[in-house]
Symmetry: C2
Subunit: 421 residues, 2 copies
């Protein structure tokens, strides 16, 4: 694990704003704070300034933030969606009452009916216009996924699945829930022995291995993350899993035919301007009787990611609405057969990731540093809060060609004696 | 049953084009026929002219049409989507090899990749722009649904459900499948005793009665069809079902609060320009923890209904894409939780309707006349062909408020010991 890699995720301008005494709080500071709070919808939080004085929403309870100096307050005012993350990471902001609770309160404030603080749609689309060319995508994916398999191993499940799990019951473990997710995907695709499967964006190869091992299918799994592909190949070899070919290439270069096209957690990185291209790839690869499944974070209303998430964590990413996803399906007249929203399952998944992450904080600090640890914590807590507050969704969409009359008759069936999920 | 009512559905310009000898076929007639066939994508059918000569697609088999005279050929050429239906109804066109097979072949020809014969999207939307005001809706609904309960009783199931059934297995009967459909809807809505339900567009009241009787909920069921409401009230009284209030009013006038908002087979009559209004109605009535379900015929790609269907059978109707349905949900940030596409179930439902309809053709002719019988047969056959060819879909969409964390954890559960569906 090199510091160079870690620096990819670490904010460039990360610094503690002041050393030593931040000085007194003036009336103008309180006025700026109140303006800032109004701008984000007066969330139910307590906001404490560096001298201990505060502005508290009546419903705040213990949930709040401490702003450690004036420079931070000004940065918050200037660009809250970018600078909150950077200043929290740098330690210029401290959160009380739990980071998730705090963020959930903030998100709920921003989403209250009648609020207009949401990032605007035209901006969301404009930002997405020219991103994720072939070379952009390589850089963006490298930024997040190539910071080290050792790091992800600390807090992901044994199969290294970095996507929403499926909890048959809320008290299932993460390991159980990730296996159940893979099983759910396989069943929705009605996989049968010998099927040719194309997986677009295979992560560390967990689903590809599962499909080959438990369903006897032949998988061609694509990914542009070098470290993930290397890991996936090694692990498949170690487990003597044949029937999976891991290919380091972009989804746009996929060729060949398949009986099932599956993509779990890639669409977030594709960008709406490339959905039609993704549809074209599916259209040229899916057999006449094939089924497809796309699993992606989504939204009810189109909004861009927060500046901080987009800049520091997931460059080039965008969670689409179902309406936006139509750009994949409509040009080729694909039939949407089934949509399931697993929002609360993703909140649960991220809770378990956070718990494991926090329990390994010492190792994380050894690999990176305190600012990285704080940034990653904020990212995981933000995800939990977003899924809990209903700001983000998780859509699993099953589709086929419009004239495929071999589609499943009902949702039941093809469990082949397996436990119901 | 009055002839006046029947005439509402019967084409105004319905006439046999010629009496007696239609005269010889000239080369120009064959040229016009070939142009017409090219225009609709050269479907795999046999086209026979009035002298017995034909133009046959190599894949036609026994499926074809006989055009009985030149006037019919010219009308087909001028406006196939309107005049085919009128001329078939009038007996100027005969179909060989089965009406469903014939229409399916035609639809598949029109939908072949690369074909541009589909009705265009701007036209589809423009046509829908100014229809279905409050008074339009009354007239349009009266046109189709008030032609007589006695007529519908001849070929619908015992509960008089005029929407897609749900066949737990393909060999279930229509009666079983309609009950299973109501059960499926109730389970998706997770109804529990005492829930307040609003049903928008309740038809003859079958679902409202079922919900009240089997789930102990309180239903307020809305419909603007006078005959349907009268029937629904009478039948609920006869069966001593309390807990249902049938209200003769437009969905736009619905007020009050509900734990479940359900609409089965109404959205087709709403029109995209009113989807936002429907969303507003749901937004003002659905409780914070309520679930909604919309069941509607849909499409993969936006296209207007054929002229004949729109003019003669279902004025003001339009089957939306999922993308278009977003206009209901997005302005209020509703979360789509679940979508199921029951296309093949609707083909099966229409097959059973057609079978029952044909077995009562004598009674239908007594109530109406031969042209009506042929028009209605064409409509039912067209529906079967459209659902089989993948031209029409049937979407069941479950949704809730975005911040409702009491949504069902998985699709399982709440079966309360009932048979799985």
């Amino acid at each position: 694990m090199s510091e160079m890699r870690a620096s990819a995720v670490r904010p460039k301008a990360l610094f503690r704003s002041t050393v030593g005494d931040p000085g007194p709080v003036y009336p103008i500071d309180r006025w700026i704070l109140s303006l800032f709070l109004k701008g984000i919808g007066n969330p139910a939080i307590r906001s404490v300034l560096w001298d201990g004085s505060d502005i508290s929403h009546p419903g705040a309870g213990r949930v709040g933030m401490v702003i450690r100096n004036r420079a931070t307050l000004l940065r918050l005012m200037a660009n809250p969606l970018l600078n909150f993350g950077d200043d929290y990471s740098a330690g210029n902001i401290e959160i009380e009452g739990g980071v998730v609770n705090f963020l959930e309160a903030v998100y709920r404030g921003m989403m209250r009916p009648g609020r207009t603080c949401r990032r605007s749609r035209p901006v969301a689309h404009w930002l997405q216009r020219n991103v994720n060319s072939l070379s952009d995508s390589r850089r963006n994916i490298h930024h997040h996924y190539d910071i080290g398999n050792d790091f992800y191993r600390l807090w992901l499940d044994k199969e290294m699945l970095y996507t929403c799990a499926y909890y048959p019951a809320p008290d299932a473990t993460l390991e159980e829930a990730q296996i159940a997710k893979m099983e759910l995907v396989c069943r929705k695709l009605r996989l049968k022995e010998g099927d040719r499967v194309i997986e677009a964006g295979c992560g560390w190869g967990g689903l590809a291995r599962y499909m080959a091992k438990h369903y006897g299918v032949k998988v061609r799994a694509f990914n542009i993350s070098r470290e993930q592909i290397a890991y996936a190949r090694k692990r498949a070899d170690a487990e003597s899993i044949t029937g999976v070919e891991f290919i380091e290439d972009d989804y746009r270069n996929i060729t060949g035919e398949c009986d099932a096209f599956v993509s779990v957690g890639m669409l977030e990185h594709v960008g709406p301007s490339h959905y039609r291209k993704l549809g074209e790839v599916i259209n040229r690869t899916l057999s006449d009787t094939g089924l497809g499944l796309i699993h992606s974070i989504g939204q009810n209303v189109p909004e861009s990611m927060s500046g901080w998430m987009e800049k520091r964590i997931f460059p080039g990413s965008y969670p689409p609405t179902l309406k936006e996803m139509a750009a994949i399906f409509e040009p080729y007249s694909f039939s949407i057969l089934d949509v399931e929203n697993l929002r609360l399952h993703y909140a649960r998944t991220c809770e378990e990731w956070l718990e494991r992450f926090e329990s390994h904080r010492q190792q994380v600090e050894e690999l990176f540093d305190d600012a990285f640890l704080r940034a990653w914590r904020l990212y995981l807590c933000g995800a939990i809060a977003n899924f809990r507050a209903g700001n983000l969704q998780l859509f699993q969409v099953v589709f086929s060609r419009f004239d495929n009359n071999g589609i499943p008759w009902t949702r039941r069936g093809d469990d082949r004696g397996r436990e119901p999920l």
